[in-house]
């Protein structure tokens, strides 16, 4: 068993980070899903050995990562935050991280080069991190996590802020790591990101495990929740007229400079919307979804469960 979490709780003073979580992880890729502030990062940091559980126990490969320095060698952690030693080049940064993880001095540079190559950063490895884009920073962080060849990877929001092309590439590289036998935990607050990586998810909400298992089952629950799409355009009435009769559209509300569509089938609605825009030559200035975060969905799910009770 890679990770065993047994009745684990973590408080920050009076603030509860994780509450009485029990969970076991054997291997493969597992997605840790939850809205911002749900406790994902706290759980990941406890698995990385950065935080000590306030109550309960958490072991990685049978040892407490907070107390056992040796087991931390087998863990690779890419934090959520952006902060790094920006003045270093990517190669210098990853080399230092490999050495801090115990890689011998004469091997560290080679290990760093291989890790950066694996993350597609060979061409940029001699550039300073300061000048990197968000996507390049994420890749560099992933390289720091894998440079010492750990067995267990903890990736906290590795796809946040990454452009779609880089996202596909990073997802593919993470999948390869799992295929090579590494256990990977990836956290995200965006369901679609996790779906592209794995079908095994653990849903954290308000510090507790709300659901765990197959992503498609949980997706079905989520899809029952009406999804809102806000379109800012020059002719909102044309869009409303076209979509008003569609069976997947539950409600249409006119707003200043646009229209808010509530749908039970986001995929079909986006297709229909694109078709209307093209057919009628409508100029769209912005397209957003107020529900594009799990917080709203979780509120819905928990509200629903309370309602049933």
């Amino acid at each position: 068993m890679t990770v065993v979490v047994d009745n684990c709780s973590k408080w920050y003073g009076h603030v509860l980070g994780v509450s009485d979580v029990s969970w076991q992880l054997r291997g493969g890729i597992v997605g840790l899903l939850g809205p911002n502030g749900a406790g994902k990062s706290t759980l990941i940091k406890m698995m990385a050995g950065l935080l000590r559980p306030s109550r309960g126990s958490l072991t990685v490969f049978g040892k407490s990562p907070f107390h056992d320095v040796a087991v931390r060698r087998r863990i690779g952690y890419a934090p959520e935050h952006e902060k790094t030693w920006d003045e270093l080049t990517a190669l210098e940064l990853v080399t230092v991280m490999a050495r801090l993880a115990g890689v011998a001095p004469h091997d560290a540079r080679g290990a760093a080069e291989r890790a950066l190559a694996q993350m597609g950063m060979t061409d940029a490895m001699h550039r300073r991190v300061r000048g990197f884009s968000k996507g390049m920073r994420q890749r560099t962080k992933l390289a720091t996590a894998i440079a010492h060849d750990p067995d267990f990877l903890l990736l906290d929001e590795p796809l946040t802020g990454v452009d779609p092309i880089a996202r596909v590439d990073i997802v593919e590289r993470i999948r390869k790591l799992a295929a090579a036998g590494k256990t990977v935990v990836v956290s995200s607050h965006v369901l679609y990101e996790i779906e592209s990586l794995t079908s095994e998810i653990v849903v954290i909400y308000r510090g507790q495990v709300l659901a765990e298992g197959n992503v498609y089952e949980i997706r079905k629950l989520i899809d029952r929740h009406p999804h809102r799409i806000r379109v800012e355009c020059d002719r909102p009435r044309d869009i409303a007229a076209e979509l008003a009769t569609a069976d997947h559209v539950a409600r249409i509300v006119f707003e200043r400079g646009g229209v808010l569509i509530e749908t039970r089938d986001p995929d079909r609605c986006y297709d229909a919307l694109a078709q209307v825009v093209i057919d009628r030559g409508i100029v769209v200035s912005a397209l957003s979804s107020p529900d594009n975060n799990l917080g709203a969905v979780f509120e819905y799910l928990t509200g629903e469960s309370r309602g049933r009770a």
Binding site: Y12, L100, H148
Partner: protein, 306 residues
């Protein structure tokens, strides 16, 4: 998760990952302080204004002091300008007098690097990088302290040692050379004491607050203003409180160590034993503070908690 299917592990399959699994040595956690020390030195060396400029000043101090030694020892100068004997005394006085200049340069380094170390790591989130790897709080403290010592020692040990060697080279005879040979261990001892003070004390200030700028300001205030106030208080109260002035204490120890009878400046009011006690107490208190703060930060998850 217990009912979830377990992904099959690869059996006899080699995945093309673009790299081989690391098969080299894994070093013991007890060696990690060396990595941190090296990183600290590399960080200081990275830009001109952090360390190289101060090192340049240290080199200038050494050249100027060496030049003064040479001029005072030169027979022509001795014959023309100064009576015999006085010149020899002044030559020997050059090294301890130069220590106050090394102190000023070391203070600059302690300000640009030392006072920012822990606060900078907390602010930059570097604690996450350290403690998510096989690094213990004591490795961190030892590594940072050793790194600062290495940087300060280049100036505070290297400079005086070169001057001591130069002094030996200026000896007129083998007898004189043998007589002044203790100048080498004295320069080393003085250099190491000053290095400890300028490495440890600002590190302590850097652990007091989480903002590097505030830490720098605190250290500068303590060194420059509190020291001066302690000297004034000592004049008023006629007590040994002037030993709180680190710069004056180091000067006093240098004068005592090199048998300099004439004592200049603030250090006049400080007893050598009290000065030594003050420097050691400052360093010990600072190291204890760093250990306490880093351990506390590690336990509470600072840098690890968002």
């Amino acid at each position: 998760m217990s009912d979830a299917p377990v992904p099959a592990r690869p059996a006899g399959t080699i995945h093309d990952l673009g790299y081989k699994r690391y098969g080299g040595a894994r070093l013991a956690a007890s060696t990690r302080w060396l990595v941190i020390m090296r990183q600290q030195v590399a960080h200081g060396w990275k830009t001109w204004w952090r360390f190289k400029a101060a090192l340049g000043l240290g080199v200038i101090v050494t050249f100027v002091a060496g030049g003064v030694m040479f001029l005072l020892q030169d027979r022509a100068v001795k014959g023309v300008v100064l009576p015999e004997g006085i010149a020899a005394t002044l030559t020997d006085a050059t090294l301890p007098r130069a220590m106050q200049w090394y102190s000023r340069v070391a203070f600059l380094v302690s300000l640009t690097i030392g006072a920012r170390v822990v606060a900078g790591d907390v602010q930059s989130g570097a604690f996450t990088f350290y403690f998510a790897r096989s690094v213990r709080p004591r490795d961190y403290v030892l590594g940072k302290l050793a790194g600062m010592c290495a940087l300060i020692a280049m100036i505070y040990v290297g400079g005086p040692l070169l001057l001591a060697i130069a002094r030996l080279g200026l000896s007129d005879s083998t007898d004189e050379l043998i007589a002044i040979l203790p100048v080498i261990p004295k320069a080393l001892a003085m250099g190491m004491l000053g290095t400890l003070a300028f490495a440890a004390v600002p590190l302590g200030f850097s652990a007091l607050v989480h903002n590097p700028r505030y830490a720098m300001a605190l250290w500068a205030t303590y060194y420059l203003i509190v020291g001066g106030m302690a000297w004034v208080l000592s004049r008023i109260t006629d007590s040994g409180i002037a030993a709180l002035d680190l710069a004056a204490s180091l000067d006093r120890i240098a004068y005592y160590l090199f048998d300099l009878q004439v004592v200049w400046g603030r250090s006049k009011r400080i007893d050598p034993a009290l000065a030594l006690g003050s420097v050691l107490a400052h360093a010990a208190a600072a190291i204890a503070l760093v250990i306490y703060q880093v351990r506390r930060a590690h336990l509470s998850g600072i840098g690890g908690a968002s």
